[in-house]
Symmetry: C2
Subunit: 105 residues, 2 copies
Amino acid sequence: MEKIDYTSRHHQIALYAKALAHPARVAILEFLAARECCFFGNLHDVLPIAKATVSQHLSVLKESGLIQGEIKPPQVRYCINKENWDIARDLFGLFFNDLKKIECS
Amino acid sequence: MEKIDYTSRHHQIALYAKALAHPARVAILEFLAARECCFFGNLHDVLPIAKATVSQHLSVLKESGLIQGEIKPPQVRYCINKENWDIARDLFGLFFNDLKKIECS
DNA sequence: TTACTTGTTCGCAAATATACGAACTGTTCG
DNA sequence: CGAACAGTTCGTATATTTGCGAACAAGTAA
């Protein structure tokens, strides 16, 4: 039997999933999306974690491509990266919806 | 400013995301869904990892609720858990689609 | 019974993730 | 200039994840 390699799709889904794999990051994305954009301080104010930790989670989200940050001295404004957000949405959408015949006999 | 607690939705999305956060598990789910169900051996045959590791990933997926295993001596048959799969699909669907007004000014 | 087949569990090592305070950078304000 | 403000980065501690071989458990076949 032939071993398979993980496809780039597998990797991409896994990477976006990893970005969503912590409640703080889910909350950040939700908060960001609801208000379009917001500053680091707004996020730190509502999240139950230290600012260093908030910064770290934002860093993970930035690396995943789901958000972007813009320096507006003396603050930093974060917002959803719409392009990658759409890519992630489509990846998950296809992944969850295009699997037919799911019935265990 | 009021701190928020992570909601159970945040936690649930994070948990499902964590289940998808490894290429092997994405591949397993895809493989499972394409063939409805299959045995441990089929998965081990196609995945580039040791059987102990396959078992571990299956365990993670089982705990997430996305799949279920049934012992059919001497084999174990795994398949998608449709109920939870639908829940996850809806969670991600709402999460990615119900965020309007995503534009960074 | 013994041997084999199928898959899980154990024990360990290495890598990654999470969290925080303290120190730091860069900007603004007095 | 020095103080205050907004965030990031550093260093560290702890927990979780990933991966594997070896040992194990359960069922089947001889």
